[in-house]
C-alpha cells in the first residue's frame, strides 16, 4: 500500500532522512517509532505529500504522493502540531472537509461527535489540546480515508479517550482494510495497536518487523539443570543469556516447539517458557543496549 524507496531529504546540509526504505501493507497498522529528531515527522510529511523528496520515491498504491490530489482525497492526516482556521468551529470545518473529501461520511461524523461529546459550535481555538486532537480525529475518520497517518496521536489524550481512539482505528482497519501509519517516540504506545513496527533513527530505518512474526519467533526460556548438565543451546540462535545462581535465562530465536523439546530432552529440574513484552522483544532483538533504543523502550 505504502512504499518508500531510498528516500533522502537534506535541510541546510543536515541529512534528515538518509536512503530510507519502508513498506506498509494494506490493512495494517504500522507503528513508526523513533526518538525526537530521528526523522519521524519528516518522513510523515513526505508520506502526506507536504515535502518533496530530494531523492527516492514515496508511493501509495504505486502512485507518487507529492501533489497528487487523488491520493490526498483518500488520505487523512493528523499532525502532531495541529492547525485549524481561526474563528472556525468543528461544524464549519466539517462543512469544508465535506466539500474536499469525496468519501466524506456525514453519519460517521455525527456518530463520532456524539461519541467524543465535543461541541460543534464552540471555536476550535478555544478547545484544549486534547479536544483539538479529538476534533482532528473526528474530521480525519469522517473522511473515510484509505490511508490514515497519525503523528504522535496519543499525546495529550487521557486513557479513556485513548482507548476510544484505538478502538475506532482498529474497527476501521477491520471493517474497511484502512491502512494506518502511526508514529510515536515511545514503543509502549504501540503495544496492542500495531501489527508492524518500524524503528527510525538518525533518518534511517533501523528495522522493520511484523509483530506476530516477532512474537512467535523469539522466546524467553528459564531453566534449572542438574549440576554438571549444560543447557542444550548449542546451534541455537541465542540472543541473550544470563545466570543467577542455579537459574539460567535464555532469549532464543527459533521455533518454539523445537526449542522446548530440546530443553526438555536435557532433563531440566525446572523449565518455563515465559511471555515477552514488545519492549523485551526489541531489547533482545536489537541488542538492547543501543542508545537509540533506550529512549523508545523506557
Amino acid at each position: 500500500m505504502i512504499e518508500i524507496k531510498s528516500l533522502t531529504k537534506t535541510f541546510d546540509g543536515f541529512k534528515a532522512l538518509d536512503n530510507l526504505n519502508m513498506h506498509v501493507r494494506k490493512g495494517s497498522i504500522y507503528g513508526l517509532v523513533g526518538v525526537n529528531g530521528s526523522g519521524k515527522t519528516t518522513l510523515i510529511k513526505h508520506l502526506t505529500g507536504v515535502y518533496r523528496p530530494d531523492s527516492g520515491e514515496v508511493l501509495v498504491d504505486g502512485q507518487p504522493v507529492y501533489d497528487n490530489v487523488e491520493i490526498h482525497e483518500r488520505m487523512s492526516y493528523i499532525a502532531d502540531d495541529l492547525y485549524f482556521f481561526s474563528m472556525y468551529n468543528l461544524k464549519g470545518f466539517a462543512a469544508y472537509y465535506r466539500k474536499l473529501y469525496p468519501n466524506w461520511d456525514q453519519e460517521r461524523y455525527a456518530e463520532l461527535v456524539k461519541q467524543f461529546g465535543l461541541s460543534e459550535t464552540q471555536k476550535l481555538s478555544k478547545f484544549s489540546k486534547g479536544m483539538q486532537k479529538q476534533a482532528a480525529f473526528i474530521l480525519a475518520m469522517s473522511a473515510r480515508p484509505d490511508v490514515l497517518v497519525l503523528d504522535e496521536p496519543i499525546d495529550g489524550l487521557d486513557p479513556l479517550i485513548r482507548r476510544m481512539v484505538i478502538r475506532d482505528i482498529v474497527e476501521e482497519v477491520a471493517e474497511r482494510e484502512m491502512t494506518v501509519l502511526v508514529s510515536s517516540h515511545n514503543l509502549k504506545d504501540m503495544e496492542g495497536l500495531c501489527d508492524c513496527i518500524g524503528i527510525i533513527s538518525k533518518g534511517s530505518m533501523l528495522l522493520e518487523r511484523d509483530l506476530d512474526d516477532l512474537k512467535s519467533d523469539v522466546h524467553k526460556i528459564q531453566a534449572v539443570f542438574p549440576e554438571g548438565t549444560a543447557a542444550p543451546v548449542e546451534g541455537m540462535n541465542v540472543l541473550f543469556s544470563e545466570q543467577k545462581g542455579s537459574v539460567e535465562m535464555f532469549i532464543i530465536r527459533g521455533n518454539g516447539e523445537e526449542i522446548e523439546n530440546r530443553f526438555r530432552a536435557a532433563g531440566p529440574v525446572v523449565f518455563d517458557r515465559l511471555p515477552m513484552t514488545l519492549e523485551e522483544i526489541f531489547i533482545y532483538e536489537t541488542g538492547g543496549d543501543r542508545d537509540e533504543f533506550r529512549e523508545i523502550l523506557f
Binding site: 490530489v69 490526498h72 482556521f85 481561526s86
Partner: protein, 703 residues
C-alpha cells in the same frame, strides 16, 4: 478501497477553497469598502460643484494608498499559511494540488480586494446619475474656454479602473512577496523591497551622478522608469488607460512568477526569513545599497559645504555596515551572523568600484559632447530652464547656425569643467540646460551650473543668445506667423502708473496697417537686442512704456511654464496666452522712432516737463530679508531722503533709472506729476538706482 469520485483532480481552481477564503476574510473586505466610501464618496457628496475637479484629484492619493494597503493585507492574510510549519503542512496535505491552492487563493484575494472598489465605483456612478454633471470651466489651447464635466462617467470609470489596477498590481507583488518569504513578518519588508527598492536604486544612481558628474542630467526615460517601477507612484502620476494596460501586463508577469515560485517552494522553508536562497543576496545587497546611499546622502546634506564629500563617504560606510548587519541578522535569524567578512567584503568592493567609477568618470560622461552635425535640435529655454518639454509645440531650436554655437558652448563648458565645478568660488551662477535631440533619434541631456561672468565672456553663448532662433523662444512675437495668431489690437501704456495720472493716456492701435508696421518695428528691435541689454543678463534700461498685444487666437506658449521665466526677458503673458506684453526701453529704437512719427511717443512717455518733483529715499534691505516675505503693510523707512526739482535732474533720472531693483542698498525715486493728482499712498511713478548707476547729485544729496 473507497470509490468516491474525485472532486477536483484536474481543475485549475478549487471552488470550495475560494468560498472558504471568502467566508474567512469577508470582514476585511467590508472594512476596505468603508474606507473607500469615506475617502471617495463622502468628499464628492460634500463638495460644491466647482470644486469637484479638485476633489477628484485629491481623493486619488489616499484612495490609491488605501488600495495598495488593502492589497498587501489581503495577500498577507491569504498566504499566511505558508509561513507556519503547522498550517503549511495541513493545507498541503489536503486534497488540493499546489496549482489549485495558488490560483484559488490568488483569485480569492482578488475578489476580496476588487469587490469594494467596484462597489465604490457603482456608488460614484449613482451619485453622478442622481446629481448630474459637475462642470468645470477650463482653458484649452485649441478650443479656448471649454466646459468640462469633471465627474463624468468616463472620469469615474478611469478613477475606478486606476484603483482596481493598483489593487491588482500591488496584490500580485504582495503575493510574490508572500511566496518568497517564510515568516509572517517578512512579507511586509519584501513588499517594500519589491514596490520601492528598484525605484530607489535608480534614484540613488541619479543622485550619485548628480554628485560626481559635472552636468549630469538623468535621461527622462530613467526618471520615468523610477516612477513607473512602483505601481503606486506610477498610477498616481499617470492614471491613463495606457498605464492601466501596462500595469495589467506587469501584474500578469508577476502572477506567473509567483506561481512558478510557489510550485518550486519547499514547505520546510516555513519560518525561514526568505524561502528561496536565490533571493537572499538580492534582498540583502539591494537593501544594503539603499541603506548606504540613504545615510550617505543624509550626511552629505547636513554637512557644512567644505565637508560634504567626506561626510558622504562616512555616511555611506556607516549606512552600508548598519544595513548589511541588520538585514543579515534578519535573514539568518541570529545576532552573530555568519560569513560577514566575505559577504560585506564583496559589497564593499562593488561599492568602491562604483564610487571610483563615478569619481573617475570611467564612462566618459563629462567629456561626451555632441558634434554640431549630430544635432537635430536643442530644447528652447537653455538658461535657468527647468520645465522639461513644457512647450506647446515643437520645443526645439533647429537652426543649424545656432546649434553650432550651442555645441561650441557645450565644448567650452566641458573643457573648463574643472574650473567651473567649484561653485563656491564662482559667485552668481546660472544653469545651462542642454536637452539635445540627436539626428539618430536619441536624446542627450546635460545641465551645468556656470558662473554668469563666465557665460557673459563666452563668445558662443553670446552668439547663441543673440541668434534669431534663440530669441524666437524668448519673444513669441518673433516666432508667430501673422496668420496663425490674429492680432486684434495693440495697447501702448505708460509704464508703471495709472492711466491719466501724468496726463498720459494709453494708445490703442487696431488698424491693420498700424498693427503690421508696429509689429515689424518691434521685431526689428528685438532682433537687435544684445546680451547685455536683456534684463536677465544685467540690462538695466528703464522701461519707458508697456506694449500689450491682444490676440484672437491664443499663442502657442506653454501654460505649464512659469511666467517668471519670460519676465526675465521683459516679456509677459497672461495664463490664457491671449494677452502678451513687452516692456519697451530706449533700446527699442525703431519702435520708439515709429511712435514718434505717429505722434504717440509724447503722449505716452513721461518726460521732464511732466514732472512736478521727485522724492528720493535711500533704503537698505537687511541681508536676511526674503523678497517673498516683504511686509507691504509696513513699507520700509528710508535712511535718508531728498527732493529733486531741477528739470535737468528729472531728465537724467528718467533716462537712467530702472523700473525695479533687487540690490541690498538702493535709491527709490518717487516721481510726482505736474498734471493731475497723485494717490498719497502709492501713486506716481517709482524708479530705482543702485550704487553703481546712481547720479552723483543723488548720491551726494542724500548724505
Amino acid at each position: 478501497m473507497n470509490s468516491g469520485k474525485s472532486y477536483s483532480k484536474n481543475a485549475l481552481i478549487s471552488v470550495p477553497l475560494i468560498v472558504e477564503n471568502l467566508k474567512r476574510f469577508w470582514l476585511g473586505s467590508v472594512l476596505a469598502f468603508i474606507g473607500y466610501v469615506i475617502m471617495c464618496c463622502v468628499p464628492v457628496l460634500m463638495t460644491e460643484e466647482e470644486y469637484v475637479s479638485q476633489v477628484m484629484k485629491t481623493i486619488r492619493i489616499p484612495a490609491t494608498i488605501w488600495a495598495a494597503g488593502v492589497a498587501i493585507v489581503a495577500a498577507l492574510l491569504i498566504y499566511r499559511y505558508l509561513h507556519q510549519q503547522s498550517s503549511a503542512a495541513i493545507v498541503h496535505a489536503m486534497p488540493l494540488s499546489r496549482k489549485q491552492l495558488f490560483h484559488s487563493n490568488f483569485l480569492s484575494g482578488m475578489i476580496l480586494c476588487l469587490a469594494p472598489v467596484v462597489l465604490t465605483g457603482i456608488i460614484l456612478m449613482i451619485i453622478r446619475a442622481v446629481g448630474g454633471p459637475m462642470n468645470f470651466v477650463e482653458f484649452d489651447m485649441v478650443k479656448g474656454f471649454v466646459q468640462t464635466d469633471m465627474f463624468s462617467y468616463g472620469q469615474i470609470l478611469l478613477f475606478t479602473g486606476s484603483l482596481l489596477m493598483v489593487n491588482i498590481t500591488v496584490y500580485a507583488v504582495a503575493v510574490l512577496a508572500a511566496v518568497l518569504t517564510g515568516t509572517s513578518l517578512t512579507p511586509a519588508g519584501v513588499n517594500v523591497v519589491l514596490l520601492g527598492v528598484f525605484s530607489a536604486v535608480i534614484l540613488i544612481l541619479i543622485g550619485l551622478g548628480s554628485l560626481f558628474l559635472f552636468g549630469f542630467t538623468p535621461p527622462e526615460s530613467l526618471t520615468s522608469l523610477a516612477l513607473y517601477l512602483s505601481p503606486v507612484s506610477g498610477l498616481l502620476v499617470d492614471p491613463s488607460w495606457k498605464a492601466l494596460g501596462g500595469y495589467l501586463i506587469a501584474s500578469a508577469v508577476l502572477y506567473m512568477a509567483a506561481y512558478c515560485l510557489y510550485q518550486r517552494r519547499k514547505l520546510e522553508r516555513a519560518t525561514d526569513t526568505l524561502a528561496f536562497d536565490f533571493s537572499k543576496p538580492i534582498v540583502k545587497y539591494l537593501l544594503t545599497f539603499c541603506g548606504m546611499a540613504g545615510l550617505g546622502f543624509l550626511f552629505n546634506l547636513l554637512a557644512p559645504e567644505n565637508l560634504q564629500m567626506p561626510m558622504l563617504y562616512l555616511g555611506c560606510i556607516l549606512g552600508a555596515l548598519i544595513t548589511y548587519v541588520a538585514v543579515e541578522m534578519l535573514i539568518q535569524k541570529r545576532f552573530k551572523i555568519k560569513g560577514f567578512v566575505r559577504g560585506f567584503g564583496l559589497f564593499a568592493i562593488a561599492a568602491v568600484v562604483l564610487f571610483a567609477g563615478f569619481h573617475a568618470d570611467i564612462m566618459g560622461y563629462e567629456k561626451n559632447v555632441p558634434d554640431a552635425d549630430q544635432l537635430a535640435g536643442v530644447e528652447k529655454g537653455v538658461i535657468d530652464y527647468s520645465y522639461d518639454g513644457a512647450w506647446s509645440e515643437d520645443g526645439f531650436i533647429r537652426d543649424e547656425a545656432t546649434l553650432k554655437e550651442v555645441a561650441a558652448l557645450h565644448r567650452d563648458i566641458a573643457a573648463d569643467r574643472e574650473e567651473l565645478k567649484d561653485i563656491s568660488e564662482n559667485g552668481y551662477t546660472r544653469s545651462v540646460s542642454l536637452n539635445y535631440e540627436l539626428k539618430n533619434g536619441k536624446h542627450m541631456r546635460r545641465t551645468y551650473i556656470v558662473p554668469q561672468s563666465w557665460l557673459m565672456g563666452n563668445e558662443h553663448f553670446r552668439a547663441m543668445v543673440e541668434s534669431r532662433a534663440y530669441k524666437e523662444s524668448l519673444y513669441p512675437v518673433l516666432a508667430w506667423k501673422d496668420d496663425e495668431v490674429v492680432v486684434d489690437r495693440i495697447i501702448l501704456s505708460p509704464q508703471g502708473i495709472s492711466e491719466g495720472e501724468f496726463g498720459k493716456v494709453s494708445a490703442v492701435l487696431s488698424e491693420k496697417e498700424e498693427l503690421r508696421s508696429l509689429t515689424e518695428a518691434i521685431r526689428a528691435d528685438l532682433e537687435q537686442v544684445k546680451l547685455e541689454d536683456m534684463p536677465d543678463f544685467g540690462g538695466s534700461k528703464p522701461t519707458l512704456l508697456s506694449l500689450e498685444y491682444q490676440v484672437k487666437k491664443p499663442m502657442k506658449i506653454s501654460k505649464e511654464m512659469d511666467q517668471l521665466y519670460f519676465e526675465r526677458y521683459g516679456v509677459h503673458y497672461d495664463e490664457d496666452c491671449r494677452y502678451y506684453y513687452i516692456d519697451i526701453t530706449d533700446g527699442f529704437t525703431k519702435t520708439l522712432e515709429l511712435l514718434k512719427d505717429r505722434g504717440l511717443y509724447e503722449s505716452l512717455v513721461i518726460g521732464p516737463e511732466d514732472v512736478d518733483r521727485m522724492e528720493v529715499g535711500l533704503y537698505e534691505r537687511s541681508p536676511e530679508e526674503d523678497i517673498d516675505e516683504v511686509d507691504y503693510a509696513e513699507p520700509p523707512k528710508p535712511l535718508k531722503t531728498m527732493t529733486l526739482t531741477d528739470p535737468e535732474q528729472f531728465r537724467e533720472v528718467l533716462e537712467k533709472a530702472a523700473g525695479t531693483c533687487w540690490a541690498d542698498r538702493y535709491y527709490e525715486v518717487r516721481v510726482y506729476p505736474v498734471f493731475g493728482s497723485v494717490n498719497e499712498e502709492d501713486g506716481g511713478l517709482y524708479l530705482y538706482f543702485e550704487e553703481e548707476n546712481v547720479p552723483d547729485f543723488i548720491r551726494t544729496g542724500v548724505r
